[in-house]
């Protein structure tokens, strides 16, 4: 816990006052923030502003010393994988360095801002590992305050699906209709029979034929 006391020496003055001034006006429900004497939101805000304005490495070092041990701790326990924790730490702090100009103290606490970055970074990295996706969706789903760096890459990994759609398009219309109904409309064969006013037996046989053909086409392409 020693590592976390780095900024405690900088804490002077009333923490209550600091808390009040840092609560954003947009937060109508004011949360009573119990301040730990190791945290000084005003000081963190100041450092972030120095990073943004002057590319001040000393200020960054202070911010780093405050957050890095905590991020390391949180991620090590969450992922149980030191390498991954290191990756999240490096990526989060890189974002802090490169995006400090996007932090505005009147929109929220510096801790909330860094938390959001850490969460988004973790999400994108985990998704990359679990789903092999590099789509970096986090900033769309959890927009950072005033930040907007959505990626324009990653659209073309749908070839397989396009591919399937193309094959479906080649089927006779009657079979297409049934396959689309079951797969894309999520309807049961019974519902489809009612919706299309076609006997259930016909639905079943069209589906069987259509799928067999589809399977054949797809198989041929992938062998």
């Amino acid at each position: 816990m020693q590592l976390m006391s780095n900024s405690s020496n900088n804490l002077k003055g009333s923490s209550d006052r600091v808390v009040t001034s840092n609560l954003s006006k947009t937060q109508t429900q004011s949360i009573p923030r119990k301040m730990n004497n190791k945290t000084d939101l005003a000081q963190l805000t100041l450092w972030l502003e120095q990073i943004a304005k002057d590319r001040n490495k000393q200020a960054f070092t202070e911010v780093f010393k405050f957050f890095a041990p905590k991020i390391t701790n949180i991620c090590s326990h969450k992922f149980n994988n030191p390498q991954l924790a290191g990756e999240v730490l490096q990526e989060t702090m890189t974002n802090v360095w490169r995006k400090a100009h996007l932090f505005h103290s009147d929109k929220g606490a510096p801790t909330t801002w860094v938390y959001s970055i850490m969460r988004n970074v973790s999400f994108d990295i985990l998704r990359k590992i679990k789903s092999k996706k590099e789509d970096n969706l986090s900033d769309d789903i959890w927009p950072l305050i005033d930040s907007d760096n959505s990626s324009e890459e990653g659209y073309d990994d749908h070839l397989e699906n396009q591919h399937l759609m193309a094959h479906i398009d080649k089927l006779p219309e009657a079979q297409q209709q049934v396959i689309r109904g079951v797969y894309f409309m999520e309807m049961s064969q019974e519902q489809l029979s009612k919706q299309l006013n076609i006997p259930l037996g016909t639905i079943k046989s069209r589906l069987r034929l259509g799928l067999a053909k589809l399977k054949q086409h797809m198989g041929a392409d992938h062998d």
């Binding site: 702090m93 360095w97 938390y115 969460r119 769309d140 659209y155 409309m185 999520e186 799928l211």
Partner: protein, 225 residues
């Protein structure tokens, strides 16, 4: 007025990013339309941040010291990060507009960069899959033309319908844009949309492939997920 909101639990999981991507996106789109839930999420995020960075981390004290778990060289990392003075510029997000049945709709930001399949149509219904590769959890856009009805589903899993635009109604009342409707498998009502609507749906059960079909589709399903 929006009457149906995500549960407190869902909002919490959204803040922690512990939901499937499609559900996180649904909550994100809801809070874009619902100030009430947006305020709750802001508060929850502050609380999580406070717990992470302002608490005394009592739960970690029983564990090994950080130094034993990892051996990062913080100084090296600081140097590596600050060696480059460049900043990340703010890029404006290009809006994604979809055209469906003569309507032009700007997608909410949360799903604007997600790849989608082309539309499939049956009667007054059109569906486009959102391709997120989340296994059994599947999301799509569902468009209903005026006078159409939401199809009844066969599966018994979790299902969410987020109304993005337009409206629909059932015997319980009318639903408007922003309504976040979670259905359990027991529900059998069939809402009707008089004026048409566009919904974002998430379901967690692939049972709409009845078993026989599922077997037949298996080799293909690999390409779909």
């Amino acid at each position: 007025m929006i009457k149906h909101h995500p549960s407190e639990e869902l909002l919490n999981e959204y803040v922690e990013a512990s939901l499937p991507v499609s559900m996180s996106a649904a909550v994100a789109m809801h809070i874009e339309m619902c100030g009430e839930c947006a305020a709750k999420v802001a508060t929850l995020t502050d609380q999580k941040a406070e717990a992470c960075f302002e608490g005394i981390h009592s739960k970690f004290t029983e564990h090994d010291d950080i130094a034993d778990v990892v051996d990062f060289n913080f100084d090296n990392m600081i140097n590596a990060i600050t060696v480059n003075d460049a900043i990340d510029e703010v890029k404006s997000t290009p809006k994604t507009t979809i055209n469906i049945k003569g309507k032009s709709v700007v997608l909410p930001r949360a799903i604007s960069n997600m790849p989608t399949s082309s539309w499939s149509n049956i009667g007054k219904l059109s569906r486009s899959r959102i391709e997120l590769d989340e296994g059994k959890v599947r999301a799509s856009l569902l468009n209903i033309e005026p006078g159409g009805s939401v199809p009844e589903h066969t599966h018994k899993g979790f299902e969410l319908t987020l109304l993005l635009s337009g409206s629909f109604k059932d015997d319980m009342g009318e639903y408007v844009a922003g309504d976040f409707i979670v259905l359990d498998g027991e529900h059998t009502h069939q809402p009707v949309s008089d004026d048409g609507c566009l919904c974002f749906t998430v379901s967690d059960d692939a049972q709409h492939f009845t078993q026989g079909i599922n077997k037949l589709l298996n080799p293909i399903a690999q390409f779909l997920y």
